[in-house]
């Protein structure tokens, strides 16, 4: 076994061939079978394999792009369950973007946020209110409600409004630390949900618990996006932007400041990092990812109500980050994908299977034990087990290594005299 892995590591050509065979076989089996959860999951796991291959990074990104844009849409289009596959992948994309946002707050900056879904709700409601007749309850004029072609602007706007709320939340809670912060953010999330739930009077803004329905689908030069396989491409595009942003931020000056604050706030302050501003940007950036996806969510569901934004949803995203590994971008992507697929595919398939068994009279499983109701139990088990046995997650975060020799070699020659003069001046002080 080890020998084979060694061969694969050494010989890129063999590796590429094996990988291509894996992708083609799984893609074909998804294409040819009517509905096969197993082969679909295998196809998705090709991303995980890709992460562990020895290709250079740019090649990996290229392959991932080809898989996402060509292979997956094509492979799933074979059977009748095209839309349900695409729905799962689209939801995965939405949750991955949100988990990456929460990862900035929890993973990079170390601020535990239990009310993260509030920003998602803010994004979703901002598009929903302004694109439906709901808006004419408080703004008169012919401009509103906006049509579906405003969706594209609202992706940015939703992100911006969510970021604003992030700063609003951040400002007062900055004095609060650790687990207190977690409870305050939890309270904030509940407040936002309660307000959306009750803001049907004195002015009907959110239509209360009834929710807002018939939200217009996105419209690009007359082309309507209504099906999951069309939303898929919107989500992929946003996800690409988010991923690019996160990768750039992680090793930037700001990203390093976040990590410094996470490790030791007082020491970071002593090193001259502006703690307040840095924490606020963490909240704002994280919230904006969530807000953008909120807009997409509202347009995709065409109906939203406050029950989509409960504490369990916040916890779901937290579970994704903890499971994958706090502060680790590939880990968080893996965690988000696992949890979403578990929720949408594995649990529902198991429930259907159990129902079949019960109907056929083979075994009798009471509805109280149906797996689709076991979300909380599963999340609880995952959180406790991960906390005790693998606090760093499935793919632990790695700090970027710096090649010292290379840095020294690239140092401009002029730098040397400065070092000498420093020594000399040091001597002069003595």
């Amino acid at each position: 076994m080890n020998k084979w892995i060694f061969v694969l590591r050494q010989n890129k050509l063999v590796l590429a061939a094996v990988y291509a065979v894996f992708v083609i076989v799984t893609a074909l089996s998804v294409y040819l079978s009517d509905k096969s959860v197993v082969s679909f999951l295998l196809l998705l796991s090709s991303f995980l394999l890709l992460y562990y291959t020895a290709f250079p990074n740019t090649v990996k990104w290229g392959i991932a792009g080809v898989l996402l844009l060509i292979v997956i849409p094509f492979a799933t289009s074979g059977g009748a369950s095209h839309e349900s596959y695409m729905e799962v992948v689209t939801q995965c994309g939405i949750y991955i973007a949100m988990a990456l946002g929460l990862n900035i707050v929890v993973g990079f900056a170390g601020l535990l946020d239990l009310g993260f879904i509030a920003f998602f709700a803010v994004g979703a409601y901002s598009y929903a209110i302004f694109s439906t007749p709901q808006v004419s309850n408080f703004i008169s004029g012919n401009l509103f409600p906006l049509s579906g072609s405003w969706f594209w602007l609202f992706i940015l706007l939703g992100g911006f409004i969510a970021a604003l709320f992030g700063v609003l939340l951040g400002l007062p809670v900055l004095r609060v630390k650790g687990d207190y912060l977690a409870i305050v953010t939890l309270g904030f999330g509940e407040i936002i949900r309660l307000i959306f739930n009750n803001l049907s009077k004195p002015v009907n803004i959110t239509n209360g618990a009834m929710g807002i329905s018939s939200i217009p689908p996105p419209n690009l030069f007359g082309f309507q996006f209504t099906f999951p396989h069309q939303f898929y491409f919107i989500v992929i595009a946003i996800l690409a932007v988010v991923l690019f942003g996160v990768r750039r931020l992680e090793h930037s000056r700001l990203g390093r400041s976040w990590k410094a604050i996470r490790e030791n706030e007082i020491a970071a302050q002593a090193m001259g990092i502006p703690v307040i501003g840095t924490k606020l940007t963490a909240f704002a950036v994280g919230a904006s990812f969530s807000g953008m996806m909120g807009v997409v969510f509202a347009a995709k569901q065409t109906f939203i109500d406050p029950t989509s934004f409960t504490l369990v949803e916040s916890a779901t995203i937290l579970v994704m980050v903890i499971l994958g590994g706090m502060g680790s971008v590939p880990g968080v992507i893996l965690g988000a994908a696992i949890v979403t697929i578990l929720n949408l595919q594995v649990l529902t398939e198991l429930t259907n299977w159990f129902n079949q068994l019960t109907l056929n009279g083979i075994v009798n499983i009471p509805s109280a034990l149906s797996p689709s109701k076991m979300q909380r139990l599963l999340f609880g088990v995952i959180l406790v087990l991960m906390a005790i046995f693998r606090p760093n997650g499935l793919i632990a975060a790695k700090n970027r290594k710096v090649n010292e020799e290379k840095l020294k070699a690239n140092l401009p020659k002029a730098a040397v005299p400065i070092g000498q003069s420093a020594k000399q001046s040091g001597g002069a002080f003595k």
């Binding site: 239990l114 687990d179 609880g380 606090p391």
Partner: protein, 328 residues
């Protein structure tokens, strides 16, 4: 407007006191664990909920065995109360042993996440059991003392309206007072109480003074959880219907009470609980009147969360707590 508020005031005070007593006893559980481990036991609200279900289950079992009619009401009440306290107390020790003790040296974030996990676990396990046994996870139990007494507050001052007080409200208040006084005596007068305070002050030094720290922490969890579970029974008796998700909101409010009184301070938690209960009742009755009907009782939970946020920002040490300087 003022006369309306004054008219409902006696009833609000009675209901607020009962609710506040429940918050106060649950808040003690938060404060005790925080005092000793500096750790927010997020699952405490769920322990309260488990207690409510355990007590209700005990009463339902007694009824189906035909024993409930045979014994006096107070005995059944006491039995349910003691069973729930024992069960939740042991549950608390178990949770500490399994989910918190391995993480005592880990970063606070990690142990808090473990507590959140435990809280989800408990919610779903209780839901399973309730759903399996009764077919519905919302359970209506047997209320033992639900006759109403009239408090003729109008004879005191004609502006007041009369208030109605459930017999059970008196039991809730009495039980809460007994529990709180008992705990206060235990912590301040007994050897175990001294050990507890010593561990809270400095765990390492306490262990050098031949105090078994693990035992003391387990005891703290037992007492805190048993208090929470016992209050669960009182709550179920007072409000009749329970579901597996009552622990979350109530736990948050009790936590607010603990923070308001100064976390780690047992007497502060009692005071904070009563205060939060009164404020919540006042808000839910009068918000609608004060704002002319545009914001009603549905914002009462927002009020509690706002109090929590305001206290944490402006006076994080609470009303009776000591401010701590952060050490480098």
């Amino acid at each position: 407007m003022i006369s309306e508020i004054l008219q409902t005031l006696p009833q609000v005070l009675v209901d607020g006191l009962a609710l506040g007593a429940v918050y106060a006893v649950v808040a003690i559980g938060y404060t005790m664990v925080y005092g000793i481990l500096e750790f927010i036991n997020f699952a405490h609200g769920e322990i309260f909920m488990t207690g409510a279900f355990a007590g209700t289950a005990a009463l339902l079992t007694l009824k189906s065995a035909g024993l409930l009619g045979a014994m006096p009401g107070w005995l059944a009440y006491l039995l349910a109360f003691v069973i729930a306290m024992l069960l939740t107390g042991i549950l608390g020790i178990g949770i500490e042993r399994v989910a918190y003790r391995p993480l005592r040296k880990a970063p606070k974030l990690i142990s808090f996440i473990s507590a959140v996990g435990i809280s989800f676990l408990l919610q779903d396990i209780v839901r399973f059991i309730a759903d399996l046994k009764t077919g519905n996870f919302i359970v209506t139990g047997i209320t033992l003392y639900d006759s109403n007494l009239k408090v003729a507050a109008s004879s005191l001052w004609s502006v007041f309206g009369d208030a109605f007080i459930k017999t059970n409200t008196i039991i809730v208040l009495a039980a809460a007072v007994v529990l709180m006084i008992g705990l206060d005596l235990f912590v301040n007068r007994t050897k175990w109480g001294v050990a507890m305070r010593a561990v809270a002050q400095d765990r390492d030094t306490a262990s050098l003074m031949s105090i078994n720290v693990n035992k003391v922490i387990a005891l703290t969890f037992f007492i805190g959880s048993a208090l929470g579970g016992g209050t669960g029974v009182l709550f179920a008796q007072q409000y009749g219907t329970i579901d597996p998700y009552i622990g979350f909101t109530l736990g948050m409010k009790a936590f607010t009470a603990a923070v308001l009184g100064g976390i780690g301070n047992i007497r502060g938690a009692m005071f904070g609980g009563i205060l939060i209960g009164l404020i919540e009742m006042l808000a839910s009755t009068n918000l609608g009147i004060l704002t002319g009907g545009s914001f009603g009782a549905e914002y009462k939970d927002v009020m509690s969360f706002l109090i929590l946020i305001v206290v944490l920002i402006f006076k994080p040490e609470g009303l009776f707590g000591k401010a701590i300087k952060e050490k480098v």
